[in-house]
Symmetry: C2
Subunit: 642 residues, 2 copies
């Protein structure tokens, strides 16, 4: 990232369309045209291919955060290509380099160019989970409205406007600290002949609206995922959900996992601001969409309740996540944040508020708090466990109202990163596999296969394990070993390479990439990921004095948890040997938790106490974790047969 920091800062970042954003460039030096769009932009020389594409509103995959490590941002120069960088020499074949292929994150534009961004390097439309879990809740929002028919001023009643309003509210409300309301109030009262509606937000007077507006009281709940943003618009009077909208988190351009984003935030002077502004811009566009779909006016939306992992909530607030970059992983903020939404740049009522639910620890965020609220895990007497499987696997185990949480660095395998042909759960991703003598694959949207998403990876490994091509120890057999193991010839025919370089051909793909394979390294990545999660489950329940087999119910939260097949998860030991009938997918429980906090004062207070009650177990310095990790490595249902 050697573009001069001063220049980059002066450019700023603006959102042009949902999920897309442009770096606004005041200084024009070179013309860059993108194919197949034939869209030309003027850009300063020295910019990277990905930055240039961003300026043209084109998103490019960067699972590794633009570090030149994953090779998933390949672009092709249709004009003369720059000299290949060392990373490009390593990740792109000589033939492809000669054909103009480069890495978008590595190549730098020094002169006018035409660049093709292939479909394989662009994020596809993502399949997003938006149904939540159902939990009955009494609607008691912190935003309330009261219609006031005030006495008009007279010589016998010269009270100031503000005192007149506050007195009608029984003296329970203090003087607003926001001068804009004081400025608007006199005209409002007179226009409405002193018949107004007071809007109270957690006891603060935030508006005085002309006439009786008590029927219009709305709020938004947001789940700020590392990959996906989901927003809900709710009627705070009835609790009814009026609209839902979702989008990719545009921060994915700057790294697909939280560690990449923390690095990005720290590696450039404007890194934090870029990440902050991009997510705020995307949320604002989701709000626009929610308002348009529901017909609700912006000024009647008084609160946003948001959950996300600890890094995401820091970035949402524009607070540096650098404390999470290294041991001892102390974040900047932990408890619930309650701020004017306008301070963050979120466009609801001008004096509306933003609630960010509290985090439990550096890598167990408010999204996990949302999962607990939505699943009522905290009320459980029996041993129950919730797992939110993503780049980090957050595990919460509960028994007799004691709660333990931990976070395991599963790695991004389930989100398609560090897997040779990994991709997000989008059109063309292999999402299911069955073995019944032969391997049968299914893709999202029934489209030609482009790669493997998390649930597909899990299924494929389970299927090849069943086919005898993968050993319990996690070795993908090469032709020689498969022959020795008696694997049928039609399966062996799909093997390439040998030893640690073995690959299994899953499918031929559309022109450009050639094939989709599963590599020995992919199996290893999955094995590491599943072992981390499984060991996390073991550690969490051990902290409660229990063993995994005692778990009464295992809840799988999040998109991946919803789409994976419990049979496959069981088969390879992802869920610590728990029988599949005790496993339940609960969907986007984090988002449901945000909605519950929006609707219920009691539940948001519960959330504040929750984070105090949950015992966080830091695994990185616990010897037992590594012991369990080793124990659960084998690809078999039960971690510990003993």
């Amino acid at each position: 990232m050697r573009v001069p920091a001063r220049r980059l800062r002066s450019q700023g970042v603006g959102v042009t369309a949902r999920g897309k954003f442009a770096i606004l460039v005041p200084m024009s030096d070179i013309a860059v045209t993108f194919a197949p769009e034939q869209h030309t932009v003027q850009l300063p020389a020295g910019i990277t291919g990905i930055e240039a594409a961003g300026a043209a509103g084109i998103l490019v995959n960067t699972p590794c955060g633009g570090q030149g490590q994953c090779g998933k941002c390949r672009v092709r120069f249709l004009t003369a290509a720059p000299e290949p960088t060392p990373a490009e020499r390593e990740l792109i074949s000589a033939d492809d380099r000669a054909a103009g292929w480069r890495l978008g994150c590595q190549t730098r534009l020094r002169g006018a160019a035409t660049i093709e961004i292939p479909a394989s390097s662009r994020p596809a439309e993502t399949q997003i989970l938006v149904q939540g879990v159902a939990r009955e809740v009494a609607v008691e929002p912190v935003v309330g409205k009261r219609f006031l028919s005030l006495p008009r001023p007279s010589l016998d009643d010269q009270r100031p406007d503000l005192a007149r309003v506050l007195a009608a509210l029984d003296g329970s409300v203090g003087v607003p600290r926001d001068v804009t309301l004081l400025r608007e109030m006199p005209a409002r009262l007179r226009q409405a002949d002193f018949r107004v509606t007071a809007v109270l937000c957690d006891g603060d007077l935030i508006d005085v609206e002309p006439g009786d507006t008590t029927g219009a009281n709305y709020g938004c709940a947001f789940d700020i995922g590392t990959t996906t943003l989901v927003g809900y618009l709710l009627d705070l009077s009835t609790g009814r959900q009026l609209a839902v909208a979702s989008a990719l988190n545009p921060q994915v351009t700057y790294g697909e996992d939280v560690v990449s984003r923390i690095n990005f935030a720290m590696s450039r002077p404007d890194g934090l601001a870029v990440l902050h502004q991009s997510v705020v811009g995307a949320i604002n566009e989701l709000i626009d969409e929610l308002l348009e779909r529901s017909g609700v006016p912006r000024q009647s939306v008084y609160e946003i309740a948001a959950v996300g992992n600890t890094c995401m909530t820091h970035l949402l607030l524009g607070v540096s996540p650098e404390g999470l970059a290294a041991t001892p992983f102390a974040p900047a903020i932990g408890g619930a944040q309650w701020l004017p939404a306008s301070e963050i740049g979120l466009r609801i009522h001008p004096r509306g508020r933003l609630l960010v639910l509290p985090n439990i620890a550096g890598f167990v965020g408010s999204d996990t708090v949302g999962v607990i609220l939505a699943s009522r895990l905290d009320e459980s007497a029996e041993l129950r466990v919730a797992v939110d499987i993503g780049t980090n696997g957050e595990v919460v185990a509960v028994r007799g109202r004691r709660m333990v949480a931990c976070s395991t660095a599963a790695g991004p395998a389930f989100e398609g990163a560090r897997i040779r042909y990994g991709m997000r759960a989008a059109a063309g991703a292999i999402d299911r596999a069955d073995f019944n003598g032969d391997l049968r694959l299914h893709t999202i949207g029934e489209e030609p296969p482009r790669g493997l998403c998390g649930s597909g990876l899990l299924d494929v490994v389970a299927a090849l394990r069943q086919a005898g091509l993968i050993t319990e120890a996690g070795r993908l057999l090469d032709d020689e070993a498969a022959t020795a193991a008696g694997v049928p010839a039609h399966l062996r025919a799909r093997l390439r390479g040998s030893g640690a370089e073995t690959e299994f051909l899953l499918a031929e793909t559309p022109p450009g990439n050639g094939v989709v394979t599963l590599t020995a390294q992919d199996v290893r990545q999955l094995q590491l990921a599943k072992s981390a999660i499984s060991a996390g489950i073991v550690m969490a329940v051990a902290e409660l004095g229990a063993r995994p087999e005692e778990i009464e119910e295992l809840l799988l939260a999040g998109a991946f948890g919803n789409y994976l097949r419990p049979e496959s998860a069981h088969a390879i030991g992802l869920i610590a040997g728990i029988p599949t009938e005790r496993v339940r997918s609960i969907g986007n429980a984090a988002g449901a938790g945000a909605k519950l906090a929006l609707l219920s004062r009691r539940l948001r207070e519960r959330a504040a106490r929750l984070v105090e009650e949950v015992v966080y177990v830091e695994l990185s310095d616990r010897k037992e974790f590594y012991e369990h990790f080793a124990e659960v490595m084998p690809l078999r249902p039960k971690a510990n047969p003993g």
Copy 2:
């Protein structure tokens, strides 16, 4: 004011130098040159002479608020002058009109012009009272600092930065609602190796400063007068005053009294914004001056405590004073306001606070609360009265801890308005007069006389009363009547005109104005003003069941109160017949009150209760007030000899 509103709004107002401000004009149509500066500005056609002068940074007197009534903004066209307006025909002689004289507020510029602004139409450097009253007070500011040596994060202590700080503050402090602090905190803590100073403002954490800064804790007190702004910088640790600075309130250009300013605020779409920004700009320049004089860094000033009359505090906050424009005079805000200073645009610590002390009523403001605090009037068992004489005379009467306040519309006579040769207490103003067979005059700065300020007006009337030229009923004798009354010839020689048109020549003035005289109308204005104040005193003490002669002590607050001669005030019955030995001038007690509130949490809490305890008496609908008013009209010491 027929300049299109849209155009004026687009111009904005910027402060260019203390007490001066410019209307920034993006659209240039005509060139206007000002003499004697020879300063040329490009301006849109149709603008008034005063607006054009403002754009050139030249302040012009407008005691009547630019209504074409006072004739004090005379300017002279050195190029062809526009047709005179009706107001100009009335207020400027035909000879002067022919010589190019016009009224700055009335004349409109339609083409290029050169205009002379004579010294007599410009505000002079004002003599400002800055010494306060001394009151012992325990220094207990609401801004406190605590040095914290925090435990560094470790794997055993992964608390978030914020939780770490809040825990060290004994859990008494809540989560800041200002995201900027959250954003700055992580880097601050790490830079300072977790040795930091927490800044608490009324229990809110507003900053975490690297190292031990407990020694640097400052605040400002401001008296926002209709005419004068006075600022003080205080060390909040010791209570010591480090610097004082004062300036004209630049709002004077838009009207010299509160009624003119309210009219200005209501007469233009941007009127309120112009008034608000001009006073905020002037306060910021005073802050700059205080910081420069003391060497105190801006970021160590955490609070401003301000007092002013009710209209001034509305304008300071940018809140419309329109409720004060007409009966029933209900203001928008009354109680104390406690806001982020940055919301108002005041430049101290970025998260510093502004306290505006509470108002008592629409025309008895927080400046009167300051007077009560400074004089300890509220603790008085005896009958004591404080009078703040200005455009309005605010009267507070106290006995046995009962407090009564009222406001009398004295008119601006004491500030030089509506007096033919009236002016503010500035260089060249006649400020004292003695009669000892002949009339002896004194001017401020011993400069050639330019006009009469309030104390001079009072002295001159008292002197001419003594000379027998003014009757007890307030009639200025003309030559015929004076001859009949036996007034010596050398005094009679100075009389001009007859009957209601009689004038007494006080002095020849520098070329341009010709003379300074006292007119029969001037005597009438003073008589109305003194009667209003005197009747207010009678009403206030009557409300306590007392009579003026029972007053043990009469406190005169404010600049006029400090400079007037109690003998003269007594002689003409300004102070309701109270013997001069019971009269005490207490200087800028309002400003002293602001300092006390800044230094003492107890006194600011006292202020909040005070306004509830003070019984406000609205005089405008009280028949007795008009009876007392008539009774005290005679120019004699005792109002009611009966």
